[in-house]
């Protein structure tokens, strides 16, 4: 199989996943969404009628008015296509088409910082912050992890190696959000170094906004790094130890190439494919975990938006955020797949 065909196949699978996730989401929230849109249509009609004084005075009895309103609501619901059950193929197809074209509609309760209730505006405002926090964290974690893992692999069974492995195992069993709560407890209240809420208190237009944003980002960033780099180092170490046992390394040693060079240029290069894959996967993984992490630190990104939307059951926001989170998740999974296929041709031939 050529690389292009491999790419195409992966891309089609990913698109399938996106559609499947979207379909599952719509089916799960469909019946609730249905009653919400019907209610809002009815509310709109009622408001229109009550605001129209001349129309209001043309009715003699309240029964007449009520039947008029009921009629209008019925017409509106038919016009919007809401008269069909929410699970009818047309309506599911329509909602999926709308979401695909990023038309998420209006949020029920939540608004963006600038006051817009358009779900697209809200998401566009929050998304960069999540990307900022989690890509920075992943970058720091991977650099630290690759460095530490390489050092540990060069001195297998040394004290450093054992400490790294031990730290990796222990740090990976603590939930990130719990460490987050602890960090807030220690570094925001016991020793007030960092702010407890990660939401910057300045407005976007203020010149000090970026400084404030970075200052507020410090605590979540430190937490993500502390929890993350141990298991990274451990993985890198394991890959390298595997590579170092291969015959070509023994051959290089026999030729007399210096051990450091073997480790850093030959072994690391061969361990690159899985490491790069894990880089992409850990980015997607942390995006998935962002919901809890951001809720703990009150970081105003996609995760917290999702959490807020869930707690007030703001369905348009939930659907929009799920779609965007899934899309980002899939892009990083896709990149991981492609990189792996590029580095390791055996995968393509499978």
């Amino acid at each position: 199989m050529g690389f292009k065909k491999f790419l195409a196949k992966r891309a089609i699978t990913m698109f399938g996943v996106l559609m499947a996730t979207l379909l599952v989401t719509i089916i799960l929230v469909g019946s609730n969404m249905d009653s919400i849109s019907k209610q809002s249509a009815a509310l709109e009609i009622r408001q229109q009628v009550t605001n129209n004084k001349s129309l209001l005075s043309s009715f003699k009895t309240t029964e007449q008015l009520d039947s008029y309103i009921a009629n209008q609501i019925k017409q509106r619901i038919t016009a919007l296509g809401l008269d069909q059950p929410w699970y009818s193929p047309q309506r599911i197809g329509l909602s999926m088409y709308k979401i695909l074209t990023l038309d998420f509609g209006h949020a029920k309760f939540l608004t963006s910082d600038s006051g817009s209730s358009d779900v697209r505006d809200i998401i566009l405002e929050k998304l960069p912050r999540t990307i900022l926090l989690f890509t920075t964290a992943t970058a720091i974690v991977s650099v630290l992890g690759i460095f530490l893992g390489t050092v540990a692999a060069s001195k297998v069974n040394s004290k450093l190696d054992k400490i790294t492995s031990g730290f990796a195992i222990i740090s990976s069993s603590f939930p990130v959000w719990w460490i987050g709560v602890l960090m807030i407890f220690v570094f925001a209240f016991l020793y007030p170094i960092f702010p407890a809420r990660a939401t910057p208190d300045l407005s976007v237009t203020d010149p000090g906004y970026w400084g404030s944003l970075l200052y507020h980002m410090a605590l979540p960033l430190i937490t993500l790094v502390i929890i993350g780099f141990g298991s990274w180092a451990y993985l890198v170490r394991n890959f390298l130890v595997g590579v170092l046992q291969e015959d070509f390394i023994t051959a290089k040693r026999a030729v007399g190439i210096d051990e450091k060079r073997i480790l850093y240029s030959h072994a690391l290069k061969n361990a690159a494919p899985p490491i790069v894959t894990i880089l992409a996967l850990s980015l997607s993984g942390s995006l998935g975990g962002a919901i809890i992490t951001e809720a703990v630190f009150d970081w105003p990104g996609m995760g917290r938006l999702y959490f807020e939307a869930i707690s007030v059951l703001d369905l348009p926001v939930i659907i929009g955020a799920t779609y965007v989170l899934t899309a980002f998740f899939l892009v990083s999974v896709f990149v991981a797949d492609v990189l792996y296929g590029y580095f390791d041709p055996r995968v393509r031939r499978e």
Partner: protein, 453 residues
């Protein structure tokens, strides 16, 4: 590729962390057993019912903090009485006495006497205290409402009642300082010469007199308000955290083990079937696997919990749905190797049925891998459930460690320095996870000997 159980166990018992994992697991299982025996499930179900925690203190630290302090913080005491009854002539006497040593460097915040009495007529209830210095103080004297037939009557006596202050005032000439404006418990527990705590043995006595019939004290509790309580302290809603933490253990083990066994069994059968069948079946099954594999688990789990339901059993099911995919991938590629082995091909040639080959010849080969995967996937299941509960999406009828942390964060325990509310649940989650990670590591070392160097 082939392992016998004996060899595995022999290797496993040489692994230090494997044994450490088993030891932790045994401790956790005994904690669960203790929870089942000492705390009945019914009383645990009242966890979210505030009325059942009334006699506990609010936000009290664990009692053992006093070991690290020179000034002993008053402990919250819930005292049970020693009962005695006698009959003199036609009068029935019932005496409940509460004996305790009060050696703390502070006054109790208050005291409450809770009682339920069965009587007829109109018995008289008197309460008095004998202090370490021998001084006896009358606290209250009250009569029950008249009843012509036997009735059950419940009530409480609070230290803040005016009548108590009035009764104590009659002892004012014993004190060298003015009692004006000092609350009752600060007078009762005070030295005579100055308003300081008097340490030593106190005896509270409750007498019940009745002429018509022998009264019965069904319930009789003296609660002395303090700021430390029990082994784990209490939370803002007065709940004894040791109860929640103890009961969280079987729940976490149940969730972790059920989810991992479910996922591993499902993944194994699915993967092996796909790998064994090959061709179109394999292709279709693996594409489906890819779809689930690439779905973002947490957002979907949240939507599932919100829309379908958050009962603990449903939660287990949801976690299995997202848990089996990785295992299916690995076991498929293992099955691809095994099916080319000669004995499998021979069995096929001899006309054995597919399911027999899968269950008799291929799956047993994968058992060591299966056990390692079970151990390794437990922590993820526990932390994911804890995370969902932390967001407030857990099953309210079975409070887990995650829900204790959810409550802690919604009452901003971190901001108020309530470390005893935040630390233990997280440590329990991590220790439970570690036990399985340790065991998984040990087994992984046996299956992939390469990593041991």
């Amino acid at each position: 590729m082939s392992f016998s159980t004996r060899v595995i166990w022999k290797e496993f018992s040489h692994s230090k962390i494997g044994i450490a994992g088993i030891v932790i697991l045994v401790i956790l299982f005994s904690m669960s057993a203790i929870a089942f025996v000492t705390i009945p499930l019914d009383s645990f179900k009242t966890w979210n019912d505030p009325t059942s925690w009334l006699q506990y203190p609010k936000s009290a630290q664990p009692a053992w903090v006093n070991y690290f302090q020179s000034e002993k913080i008053p402990e919250h005491l819930i005292l049970k009485p020693a009962s005695m009854s006698q009959q003199i002539g036609s009068v029935y006497f019932l005496t409940d006495s509460f004996v305790f040593n009060y050696n703390y460097d502070g006054f109790p915040s208050d005291f409450i006497y809770q009682y339920t009495v069965q009587y007829s007529g109109s018995p008289l209830l008197q309460m008095s205290v004998t202090r370490p210095d021998g001084v006896e103080i009358q606290i209250i004297s009250t009569s029950m409402p008249f009843a012509s037939s036997t009735v059950t009557y419940s009530s409480m006596i609070f230290s803040t009642q005016d009548v108590i202050a009035k009764n104590i005032a009659s002892a004012k000439n014993k004190y060298a300082f003015s009692l004006d404006g000092i609350s009752s418990e600060k007078i009762i527990f005070s030295k005579l010469d100055q308003n300081q705590i008097l340490k030593g043995q106190y005896v509270f006595r409750v007498h019940l007199y009745d002429v018509s019939e022998k009264p019965v004290l069904v319930k009789s509790n003296l609660v002395l308000g303090g700021k430390v309580y029990g082994i784990m302290g209490t939370d803002e809603l007065r709940r004894d955290l040791s109860v929640g933490l103890l009961w969280g253990t079987p729940l976490a083990l149940f969730i972790g083990i059920t989810v991992s066994i479910g996922s591993v069994v499902l993944g194994l059968v699915y993967g092996v079937y796909a790998g064994y069948k090959g061709r179109a079946t394999d292709e279709v099954l693996m594409r489906f696997n890819d779809v689930i594999y690439a779905m973002p688990a947490l957002p979907l789990l949240i939507i599932l919990a919100v829309t379908i339901g958050n009962s603990i059993f449903l939660m287990v099911g949801f976690l299995v749905v997202f848990g089996w995919v990785g295992i299916a991938k690995v076991s498929r590629s293992m099955a691809l190797q095994i099916k080319t082995l000669q004995y499998v091909e021979t069995a096929k040639l001899m006309g054995q049925k597919d399911y027999k080959i899968i269950f008799k010849h291929i799956l047993p080969q994968l058992l060591p891998y299966a056990f390692a995967s079970i151990a390794i996937s437990v922590p993820a299941a526990i932390t994911t459930e804890a995370g969902l509960s932390f967001l407030g999406l857990g099953d309210p009828s079975f409070p887990t460690w995650g829900q204790i942390l959810h409550d802690a964060s919604s009452y901003s325990a971190a901001a108020r320095g309530m470390w005893w509310w935040i630390l233990p649940p997280g440590i329990m989650i991590a220790v439970t996870g570690l036990a399985f990670v340790f065991m998984g590591q040990a087994m992984d070392g046996i299956i992939n000997p390469k990593l041991r160097h």
